[in-house]
């Protein structure tokens, strides 16, 4: 069992045998990245909680008793005394299969194809998803929307192989402020945002909102509804915010 340090306590652990300082409970993946180690990942972002869905960030952890196990690093808490091994034969083998599975979900995604090529993933063994929408169900959009934006506009529906990321009842959701955060974090860029005729549309969620126009430049800058949403949430916003894009306020 993990020792009874309070979360946040400084601990020492090892990466590939070399000693490092860390913080008990921190995400191992984030810590590895901070020390400059490359570990691929698709469903993790520092701004949101770990989810562990994409299974790409695999590492091999040796515990204090010398037992080895394969685990994802994004949701693995840094703890005293462990040794973290990267790119062991088992890690490489399982990561390849994981990438092969991901690629079959999003066969057209340039990001995934590049990643698969980089990791020598064999092609053509799995039947690609015919109806692929390039969504790999990493859940980043939903976590950003709920944890950072606070809009709760999207969620996973159903379970198992029927699982999908969608809006309630697959309908346009008035809770969506079209901020575009989901579009930004999506690793396969499968959500899509379009701006035309003074309106912004989040393509995947079918949400269209008129844009506020900057009085300084005459250009549309952000959905009017978004500004109103935050004004309500924060108990009022400076008038300037409504009239001008950020650089001109």
């Amino acid at each position: 069992m993990s020792e009874q340090h309070p979360f946040g306590a400084p601990v020492t652990f090892r990466i590939g045998g070399r000693p490092y300082e860390g913080t008990y409970g921190d995400s191992l993946l984030e810590t590895l990245h901070r020390y400059g180690y490359e570990v691929p990942s698709l469903c993790h972002h520092e701004a949101v909680s770990a989810y562990g869905a994409c299974r790409l960030c695999l590492v091999e952890v040796v515990d204090k008793r010398g037992r080895h196990k394969i685990t994802t690093s994004c949701n693995f808490p840094v703890q005293a005394g462990i040794d973290v091994l990267l790119d062991t034969p088992d890690v490489v083998r399982h990561r390849r299969v994981v990438l092969e599975l991901l690629l079959a979900m999003a066969p057209r995604s340039p990001e995934l194809r590049a990643l698969a090529a980089e990791h020598d993933v064999p092609g053509g063994r799995l039947e690609p998803d015919e109806s692929a929408e390039d969504c790999i169900l990493c859940g980043l959009c939903e976590r950003v929307c709920r944890e950072v934006v606070g809009a709760n506009a999207i969620a996973m529906s159903a379970r198992g192989t029927a699982k999908r990321m969608t809006t309630p009842y697959d309908a346009e959701n008035p809770a969506c402020i079209a901020c575009g955060a989901c579009v930004y974090v999506c690793p396969t860029r499968c959500i899509g945002l379009e701006e035309a005729d003074g309106k912004r549309t989040i393509l995947r969620w079918g949400r269209t909102l008129p844009l506020a126009v900057c009085q300084q430049t005459g250009r549309a800058f952000t959905p009017q509804f978004l500004l109103e949403h935050y004004a309500k949430k924060l108990g009022g916003l400076d008038e300037k915010v409504f009239r001008k894009a950020p650089p001109y306020r």
Partner: protein, 630 residues
């Protein structure tokens, strides 16, 4: 309403009072109202009994008790007549008069209703004479055929809550914990994790506000399993007493909070548990100041939505909190951070039911049953009994409780009465949908946690499905892979996508489109699903595939290389044909749903293969054995 009991001694006094009121010689008619018997009409039977008793004015001559599952569901409705212990099976409402007359009033057995052993022809007078029961060791299920689960008095009369009284009056919480630790009791819900180790970790986990959650897992999502259901419906106080003892051992002094998570498809279990909790509260066995001590604890019932994955510990806790039942990584154990991020001890219903028995009968009694040596290490063996739901192609299906270490052969042949219709044994799947399929060469293997795991299967929660030689093992793997792909929460890629592709490949093999390299690909993907999935659903999901590939590899090869299904199950790989035993009776042609069979009266018929959908109706309806499958 009865007054709360204010001391352990008061409980003993009540027990004596109940005993004093009861005449051990008074006849009791016990009617099984478990799931199987209800399906066979035991509720109608119970109505008929009540009616008949009233009509004959026998109200004070006997007691009629409606019980939980007696176990031998195959032969329901089941009836026991005490004090003689007569065992009757397949009892119909029309038999009631005779039973009351002959067996209750005159104390004579009724041969017609007795069980006759199909092999030896011997008649069974009592339950213990029946092969199905004779080879069992019914410890947890002992009182299922005796007590009325809605009566707390019945439970107290057979020694119920004595363990609690003993613990509260003579043992410190640590001593109770120590007893469970030393008993080597391992979790009956899946992984076989030693309960004592879990309890200790939970007790030692920091809990600033003293709250520790004590949960019973009654989700029981395995298809065909009804062990926990039968305990919850048949003897709910046993489970509750176990939980109260656990709360005392794990969280006293402090604030233990209890939940029983029951799947929504078990309304009777919910009702019986609810009633039992109410009665226990009335008597001061739950709530504040239990039995007048400073120990307090209460339990509430949480109904699950019926997803298999909600039986997984972290998904179950998410579900109680009101979130989607998705598991999370358990790198921080639930004993440290579980429900609402507080220390949480989750055990299976059957695990809890063992606790009172260990405390009343002693650690030595418990460790004398089972395999291995747990005196130094609770992982050192498998102690106590295990309940199995024995189903499939055996003669006697039902609920079976045996000591750990009984061999598969003893369970399937001595208790189960062997394979149905004189066919051959082919495989047994233990451990539910993600358990492995073991072949005949493993029949003499003792059944315990570690032997099953070594063999590529698992104990799971105790499902046991027996298959005969008409089963295609590739098809079996296909069936369970699809079940698990559907029941996966779908959160992580390896489980959701891995299972999806394993299904696709095996579907292809069963459809006669297997390719060279498929077996290697299946191996590769299933290994990653096992090693890299987030929760135990994915980590164990490849078991049915991997075990059948290990023990029945030649069947896979036959499908892939020769495009043959040796068991003649996979529809794409078989053809139906009519041989010269055909008399031209035209029955098959009339029943064929696609009109694929032609032929004149009294002349040999033929099947048009391009129209045949291989439904097998022709073979079923032919009286002359003239339809072959190749």
């Amino acid at each position: 309403m009865r007054a709360r009991l204010t001391s352990p001694q008061a409980l003993e006094k009540l027990r004596a009072e109940i005993a004093g009121r009861r005449d051990p010689e008074k006849p009791v008619l016990s009617i099984c109202a478990g799931t199987g018997c209800v399906a066979y009409g035991s509720l109608k039977l119970a109505d008929a009994v009540r009616e008949e008793v009233e009509k004959r004015g026998l109200g004070d001559k006997l007691e009629v008790r409606i019980n939980g599952c007696h176990g031998f569901c195959e032969r329901g409705p089941l009836v026991l007549c005490h004090p003689h212990g007569f065992f009757y099976q397949r009892v119909q409402p029309s038999d009631v008069g005779e039973i009351l007359e002959q067996s209750i009033l005159a104390g004579q057995p009724i041969e017609r209703l007795q069980y006759v052993d199909p092999v030896t022809g011997a008649r069974a007078v009592k339950q213990q004479d029946v092969g199905f029961y004779k080879h069992q060791m019914r410890v947890l299920l002992e009182y299922n055929g005796w007590i009325d689960p809605t009566s707390i008095e019945d439970y107290i009369a057979v020694g119920g809550y004595a363990a609690l009284a003993k613990a509260l009056s003579t043992m410190k919480p640590e001593e109770v914990l120590d007893a469970i630790y030393k008993s080597g009791l391992r979790g009956r819900g899946g992984g076989g994790f030693p309960a004592g180790v879990k309890w200790k970790e939970c007790r030692n986990a920091p809990a600033p506000d003293g709250v520790r959650y004590i949960i019973a897992n009654g989700d029981e999502g395995d298809p065909g399993a009804f062990m926990d259901r039968s305990l919850m419906e048949g003897n709910p106080h046993l489970v509750i007493e176990g939980m109260i003892l656990g709360a005392y051992a794990i969280a006293h002094p402090g604030h233990p909070v209890g939940y029983i998570y029951v799947r929504n498809e078990y309304p009777l279990a919910v009702e019986r548990l609810g009633l039992a909790l109410e009665k226990a509260r009335e008597l001061g066995l739950l709530g504040e100041k239990i039995l007048g001590t400073d120990f307090g604890f209460d339990i509430q019932i949480n109904r699950g939505g019926g997803a298999f994955v909600c039986g997984e510990s972290t998904a179950l806790m998410a579900s109680i909190e009101g979130f989607v039942g998705e598991p999370r990584a358990k790198h921080i154990h639930t004993v440290v951070q579980g429900l609402y991020n507080k220390p949480t001890n989750l055990n299976n219903v059957e695990t809890w039911a063992n606790v009172p028995l260990i405390l009343t009968r002693g650690v030595d009694w418990f460790t004398s049953i089972g395999t291995g040596d747990v005196s130094k290490d609770p992982w050192g063996g498998s102690k106590g009994t295990k309940i199995f739901a024995l189903v499939g192609k055996v003669n006697n299906t039902g609920l079976v409780e045996v000591p750990m270490g009984k061999t598969l052969r003893e369970i399937i042949f001595d208790i189960g009465g062997g394979i149905r219709d004189g066919r051959q044994f082919k495989a047994v799947q233990t451990g539910g949908p993600s358990g492995g399929c073991l072949p005949a060469s493993h029949l003499d293997m003792p059944v315990d946690f570690d032997r099953l795991t070594e063999a590529g299967s698992m104990m799971g929660s105790g499902g046991m499905i027996v298959m005969d030689d008409s089963t295609c093992m590739v098809d079996v793997a296909r069936y369970f892979l699809h079940f698990l792909a559907d029941e996966s929460c779908g959160k992580c890629v390896t489980c959701r996508e891995g299972l999806k592709h394993l299904c696709k490949i095996v579907d292809r093999i069963c459809a006669g489109q297997g390719r060279e390299g498929d077996l290697e690909l299946l191996d590769e993907i299933s290994l990653t699903v096992e090693k890299a999935s987030l929760c135990a659903l994915g980590q164990t999901a490849p078991n049915p595939l991997r075990s059948t590939m290990r023990y029945f590899r030649d069947e896979y090869v036959a499908h892939i290389r020769d495009h043959k299904c040796p068991a003649k199950v996979c529809k794409a790989l078989i053809t139906f044909g009519i041989n010269d035993k055909c008399t031209g009776c035209m029955v098959c042609a009339r029943n064929c749903p696609t009109g694929a069979i032609t032929g004149e009266r009294k002349k040999l018929h033929v099947i048009d293969q391009s129209k045949c959908i291989r439904c097998g109706v022709c073979q079923e309806v032919c009286k002359f054995d003239a339809v072959d499958v190749a």
